[in-house]
């Protein structure tokens, strides 16, 4: 190994990859000074985002979303159930987020990853409180039958910004969702029962078209990492582990704040930093809306 140079670090003596492993914070700081991140993105720009709808053919609605290397697969399955007594004309959405061991070397089988229940709860709070889906649309017969949507999101590759990608895949899956045709039938007790369409059934379906669900004010999010005076948008897993102050801003399409989540972190967020994060998120919302619309219109052409 060489001797330290005039700056007191080994930057000219050691290969780039070794320097990145040995002194990760210095490596990133050298890039931040030039307002760029190691993968040549300007600080405020997110990684390349793609959405593929209909990734799971057997599900009622599904989508695969990728932001950089982070990949999430979302799938929705609909089942008929009796609505609760307090809300007789509303359906129900159950959101579950899984991090199988394939996604990251830190996750091992035998117990859920630490981040999984937290992201699952954040997702359910965001989707239910944003009012994207009117639960009354999921009702079939008031008081007797309503749809329950099971949304499962699987993380296939965890490379930072898990919440952003999960939210994007959930929103894309809902925009791809087609509510199946329910079948009215008499069960053994002579009661009228609604169930999903059975392929070989010779009973009359209630309505012949599959309908799409109506989405209003779709939420989009951006995660940023704060380090000294810099704000780095859309961090990778390496950046998240070195710089521990993470801020996630969720805005909906009418620029209302759905959530501003900053769980601790060494850097204190002053008003200017928060305003910058919200401004970056506004730009990102426009980008994501465009990407989602392109994906939906791509599907309709087929």
């Amino acid at each position: 190994m060489g001797l330290p140079n005039a700056n007191g670090d080994l930057s000219t003596e050691v290969e780039v990859d070794a320097f990145r492993r040995l002194f990760p914070l210095h490596f990133y700081e050298k890039h931040l000074l030039e307002s760029i991140s190691p993968d040549a993105r300007p600080l405020g720009r997110a990684r390349e985002t793609t959405i593929a709808l209909g990734a799971v053919a057997s599900a009622n609605g599904s989508a695969l979303a990728k932001i950089g290397s982070t990949t999430m697969l979302a799938a929705i399955k609909m089942k008929v159930m009796t609505p609760s007594l307090e809300t007789p004309d509303e359906g129900c959405i159950v959101i579950d987020f899984h991090m199988p061991p394939i996604c990251s070397p830190i996750v091992r089988p035998g117990g859920p990853a630490e981040a999984a229940p937290v992201v699952a709860k954040q997702l359910s709070d965001t989707i239910l409180s944003s009012g994207m889906i009117n639960l009354k649309e999921l009702s079939l017969v008031s008081g007797k039958a309503a749809w329950m949507a099971y949304l499962d999101i699987y993380c296939l590759d965890a490379d930072g910004a898990l919440f952003d990608t999960a939210l994007l895949s959930a929103v894309a899956a809902f925009s791809h969702l087609e509510i199946p045709v329910p079948v009215v039938s008499l069960n053994d007790d002579g009661k009228i029962v609604l169930s999903e369409e059975q392929g070989l059934s010779d009973r009359e379906p209630v309505n012949k078209e599959k309908r799409k669900i109506n989405l209003s004010s779709i939420p989009f999010s951006l995660t940023c990492v704060l380090h000294k005076n810099y704000i780095l948008a859309d961090p990778t897993a390496e950046e998240e582990s070195i710089m521990d102050t993470i801020v996630t801003v969720v805005l909906d399409s009418s620029s209302q704040l759905v959530s501003l989540h900053k769980p601790g972190g060494t850097v204190l967020a002053y008003t200017s930093a928060i305003q910058d994060c919200i401004a970056l998120t506004r730009q990102r919302v426009k980008e994501l809306q465009k990407i989602l619309e392109e994906a939906i219109s791509g599907m309709e052409v087929d």
Partner: protein
């Protein structure tokens, strides 16, 4: 604007605060914090040797266990644990005792609104009682936004459920210093304006959020004064005994 709150408080009025430290004798530090009817008990054990598997051994590690009043531990408890852990990691000086773990156990005694802020305040006082080195205290407050646009502080459970949105905010405590005021400012703002943690629920406009921040900062000054008096009183009591 006159706002009718069920317990007769004004918009910016907090519920009566009570805090007592050193109530559990086996724990290295403990505190009980109550805001009105919401009561939380926190106990600190540590520093203990060794860190957990994926944690950095060059720093001290903090572990939080959240015990709800009833029911099994599920996703909401895991979320609270993560938020508490990150908030407390940012206020403790982690480089003083490397390769150690400090465990903080939070037990909910009663939940009547503003549960997470009460837990953060209780955990912070328990850490002070245990003598864990910290940069500053964490002062937590809950602000609620109603449909008509006014902001109330420190809601009860009924108020929380009726409101359009609420935000849990954690600030550093207010600074009393002999240095001239200008020298302690960061980016033109005093240190206690920085947000350590912010968790919001429900939809609000960006302007409403900044309004909540202002109200939260004003309330955190009052809370900081309460904490200062409480800590000074108990330390003079123990010095008399010793």
């Amino acid at each position: 604007m006159e706002v009718d709150r069920e317990d007769g408080r004004s918009q910016n009025q907090l519920r009566p605060l009570a805090c007592s430290r050193n109530i559990l004798h086996r724990a290295h530090g403990s505190a009980s914090w109550s805001q009105g009817d919401t009561k939380v008990l926190a106990a600190v054990y540590g520093p203990k040797a060794g860190t957990k598997k994926n944690e950095n051994p060059e720093k001290a590690c903090i572990e939080v266990i959240w015990k709800p009043k009833t029911g099994q531990i599920g996703k909401p408890e895991k979320e609270y644990e993560m938020i508490l852990k990150r908030t407390l990691e940012s206020i403790c000086i982690l480089t003083v005792n490397p390769n150690t773990t400090t465990s903080i156990i939070v037990q909910v005694v009663n939940d009547d609104g503003a549960l997470l802020p009460s837990a953060i305040n209780a955990a912070c006082m328990a850490l002070v009682d245990a003598g864990i080195p910290m940069k500053h205290l964490a002062v937590a407050i809950c602000c609620c936004l109603a449909k008509s646009g006014y902001v109330i502080l420190d809601p009860t459970k009924l108020e929380e459920q009726k409101m359009k949105a609420f935000a849990y905010l954690v600030f550093p405590n207010s600074v009393r210093s002999v240095l001239p005021e200008g020298s302690l400012r960061v980016e033109g703002e005093p240190i206690e304006n920085g947000i350590i943690t912010s968790v919001t629920h429900g939809i609000m406009s960006v302007a409403d959020y900044f309004y909540c921040l202002e109200r939260g900062r004003a309330a955190s000054v009052k809370l900081s004064d309460f904490l200062r008096r409480n800590l000074q009183q108990q330390s003079t009591d123990s010095s008399k005994a010793g």
